[in-house]
Structure formats: C-alpha cells, structure tokens
Symmetry: C2
Subunit: 328 residues, 2 copies
C-alpha cells in the first residue's frame, strides 16, 4: 500500500477505513496488522481514524498467571453481548518476545464467540521491540473503537512492566486476584495494586478467598492513588467458570466510568495516555533517525572496537542526528 | 556533587571511583544509586569506570515465580566464595514500578552472606521509567565489575519483557524451570526458551522433574539460536535448598563462558549489548530534549485539546526538537 503526503491518504487506505467502520472482521484484522508493523502506514491509518475514537469503554484485565483472566474475559464478553452491545478483545502476551506467535489457546477458548459478528478477538505478541507492544495494543484499541465496538477488553498474560505499560493506556483497570497462588505471586500483586480501579477476586468459592480480600483491603488502607478523588477500588467476587458475579463486575466497571467522567479524571488519564503514546513514538523515531542519518550500526561497531562507553557513544550519535536534521 | 565538562570529572567523583575500586560497600552502594538516578552524573561515572570493565563473569538468573531463584542465587554465591572468588548480586524486581522499594526478603535471606566483604547485595526496582531498569541494572553490573568482583549475578523476579531486557545485557543466562507449576507457567517458560544458555531444573527431587526435562529437550529440538554455533543449553538438575548440583551448575556456566570466548560469540553478544544500551540511552535522551527544547508538556496539552493524533503530535515535537538543535 502506498501512503501519500501528510493529510492525504491512498485510495487503499480510504477503502480499508470504510470497511473497518462496518466492523468487517477482515478489514479490522488487516488494520491491526498494519499498526503492529508500525511505521508510516500505521501513522497514516491512525491519523485517519483518530477523530472517531474516544467512545468505546476500554478496559484492561491483568493479574498473575493462573488467576483465570481468560475465562473472565470470555464471560464478560458474553454478558456484554447479552446486553446487545459489541466487544473487541485484545489478548496481549508480552512473554513471547521471540516467536511472535498468537495465543492459540485463546482462540480455541473463544470458539463459542468466534462466529458472532458482534465480537472480534485478536492475540497480540511482542515482536522484540521495547515499548512496541503497548503502542501497538493502544493503536489496536483505537481501531476497534473507531470500528464501532462498544467495549474493548485488553487482557494481559503476564505480570511485569509490560503489563503495566499496556494497562496504562486503558480507562479502567481490573486486577484479578485469586486464592491459593502462594506468597511469591501475592508479592507480585502488591506491585500492581496502585493501578487497580476494580479488584476481581476470582475463584471466590475457594478456600482462602476471605484472606485475599482482607489482604487487598489492608493494602488499600495504606493508600491508593484515586482515594482522595473519591474512588476506592471495590473488590468484586466472581466464579468466572460458572459465570457468577459477572453482572456485578460489569456494574462496577460502569460505576468507575461514571466516576472518571464526573471527577474530571477521564481527561487527566487520557491526557496521560496521550503523553505515554507520544513518548513511545518519539523513542522509536529517534532510533529510526539514528539508523538513517547517524550511521548507528557503523558507530556501534566503532564504539565497541574503541571501547567507548555507551553514554559517550549515545551523545555522539545524538549530536550527529541533530546536525543531520539541521542540514535537511 | 558537581560534574565538570566532558572528559573531566569532579574531585568527588574521582574519590568515589577510588573507593569503589577497593570494593568499599558504601562507595559501591552510592555509585549504584547514582546510576539508578541516571542523568549527567551517571554518564560521568560510567565513562570513568568503563575502561576497567569486561573482566567479571556476568550471569543472569530468570524464571517464573516460585522456581526458587533466590535460594539458587544464594547457593551459587556461597559456592563462589568457597572457591575464594568474590561476587556482586543484583536482585531486579520490575513488578514494583510504583513503590520503588527494595526486596526486603532478599536482604533478609542473604543475611548469612551480608557480613562477608567478598559479597555485595543490592535490590533494584523500577521507578516507573520504561527501559530504565535494564539500563540501570547493566550500569550497576559494570560498577561491580570495575570494583573488582569476579562474578556478577543478576536475579530477576518476574517473567515478562523486562526480564528479557535485563538478561539481554548479561553474558550467560540461566533459565530456572521447576516441576509442578502448572501449564500456565510452563507456557511462559516457552517464551524465554530462546534466551537460555543453561537450563536449571531446580527442585529436581520432586515428582515431574523428568517430564519438565523432556519438555525442555523437546522444545530445544525445535531449534535454539546458538545450536549452529556449537552450544545447546545443558539442563543442570539442582536442589538448591540442599545445595545439590550447585558445583555442576558453576561448571556449566564456565563451559558456556569458554564457548563464548572460543566461538567469537562473546564479541557478538557484547556488541549487541552495547547497541541495546545505546538505544536505551538515546530513547531517554530524546524525551529529555523534547521536554527542554520542544515544550513537551505544553504541546501534549494542546494536542489533547485539539484532538491531534499521537503520531502527528510526535512528528511535530520531533521537528521542533531538530530545529532547536540546529539553532544551538
């Protein structure tokens, strides 16, 4: 596909966006692949659909492996469909940085939903680019939003900084806790306490559920970022495998959305999201530029041979890049 | 502390580096805090110690929560000490991006080692800066190297991209597997298969150890990046809690080091490490520059108000930055 100068767009792109707006699954899939690849095409596509974004409820689901996130997302999607609304689902797996493969399990699991045109499911995996996954995921959420999906659910698989980056670009963050995962994993949960808008205590019929709830309440009593604004994350108990508590969970998400809108926090978050996205794009832009105009590869080889330290070498590259920019 | 112009260094810095070279724990700690903060001081410090680096054996230890990495690191450190060599340990916890706290557990666990001047232990946690943890950890490893520690062990807590980034800056990567963690976590392990130089099958006395070993062998039979170079990761069985297999593990690490040196792969890796470090520094440099010379904060607010898409806004900022550079 060719991309014309800033502001314009190729016929292909116009056509793709037109079909995207009808929620055509192939067009949606193709558009997401485009933002995954990044570059000028992704930028042109995003610019075109951006004015139509901001309407969908974008919800992130994170928590340790084994917490039942996939089942929960599945049930949430069914509940949303029963209400007559549409839903796009992005399954993010930052733990497969090299293979770049999709989560086959997710696709199989969602089979019941796969034939429903009101549902779109896509797995996204890191392709080795630092910061690339969060950017691509947020871009994909925008595409689903522009395509007219009422909800976008972003499910993350792991428990690290990547997940934090990914869910930092959504409006409402669900953190899924579960009884009986052991202390090591509970410690990880403490790290994502601050980003939770709603806690989901899944497998709540298991022994130890009350203890986990008490632990969460205790941790929250130590302080939470939105407390002063009038929102303390509720703890919603679910047994996702039996569909229990799912309606309550949707209600809690909607209460949070209302809080965001009424408190002005929605604007604060979305401005922060925009900043995060701009930062990520700038970071990749500078590397592209260093490659093209400052002979990065050659300079790295020279720096390595001459044992130049990474800071000094970076400074040289950055100065070269500015000089090249000045000559343009 | 003041930092003078490029090439020079303040008296304080010279003094700090002198004390660092005697493995003075307070000097080492202060130097690591300095690289954690980043900026001009970190750059000046790194430039000064960089010529003395490259001697230590830098080993990364990663794997899922519950695999017993901490105990393993503890035992490795004792074994190294028994051989009369010194060891610096960095415990990296990317799952606490907001608290920035150290892993108290690690410090307590290592108490037996804490009074030994041949051992230095430090916990490092993300401070919310994307890419910052991998950079700071690698800088800290350089400091320990320059301080004269024979070994540097970098232990990561989680299982995501951060861990991959962190261990991408070491020479030898140990991936710890363990029987009985369930399919969800085994799936995560598949993602880090490619970065393993040595597999540690810990808790090898448990049921299911043979099955995990078979799984690992099966995965490796599908291909491994260093296979064609003559290195297929060995699977070393340990029971770290009883100190079993630790000598074998050290021997495997040394065999890997020999392979790196003899195959020329050490140069390949270290050049790649330098590139990764330069990229990370450049990424942060461009954000600093955007803040200082392109009025990032103001432009984000304007972009949000005018609903400019993140790509277009980034492009505007980057052009402003180049123009500002041209005027300098």
């Amino acid at each position: 596909m060719s991309v014309s100068a800033a502001g314009g767009a190729s016929d292909d792109l116009v056509d793709l966006v037109d079909r995207l707006r009808t929620r055509n699954p192939r067009a949606v899939g193709r558009a997401i692949s485009m933002v995954e690849r990044g570059g000028a095409e992704a930028a042109a596509l995003l610019s075109r659909i951006y004015p139509s974004t901001g309407r969908a409820r974008v919800v992130g689901i994170t928590g340790p492996p084994g917490a039942g996130k996939s089942t929960l997302v599945d049930r949430l999607a069914r509940e949303i469909r029963e209400r007559g609304e549409t839903v796009g689902i992005l399954c993010v797996d930052p733990t497969s940085p090299f293979t770049g493969g999709a989560l086959l399990g997710d696709r199989i699991r969602m089979q019941g939903l796969a034939t429903d045109s009101g549902v779109f499911i896509r797995s996204m995996a890191t392709r080795g680019t630092m910061g690339g996954l969060a950017r691509a995921t947020r871009d994909a959420a925008d595409l689903l939003d522009a395509a007219g999906f009422d909800w976008v659910l972003v499910e993350t698989v792991g428990v690290g900084q990547d997940e934090v980056d990914v869910v930092s670009t959504v409006d409402t963050v669900l953190v899924v806790a579960v009884p009986g995962l052991g202390d090591d994993i509970q410690a990880i949960k403490a790290g994502i306490l601050e980003i939770a808008d709603v806690f989901v205590l899944n497998k709540a019929d298991r022994d130890g559920a009350d203890r986990v709830a008490r632990d969460l309440e205790m941790m929250m009593s130590l302080g939470h970022p939105t407390r002063g604004l009038g929102w303390l994350p509720p703890i919603v108990r679910t047994v996702a495998s039996r569909g229990e508590g799912i309606a309550d969970l949707l209600a809690a998400i909607e209460r949070h959305r209302l809080f965001l809108a009424e408190s002005g926090e929605l604007d604060v978050r979305r401005r922060a999201q925009l900043r995060l996205r701009v930062e990520t794009i700038l970071k990749h832009r500078v590397l592209d530029e260093a490659e093209k105009h400052a002979h990065m590869e050659r300079e790295i080889a020279r720096g390595y041979a001459e044992r130049i330290d990474p800071y000094a070498l970076s400074e040289e590259l950055f100065e070269d890049l500015l000089k090249a920019g000045a000559r343009r």
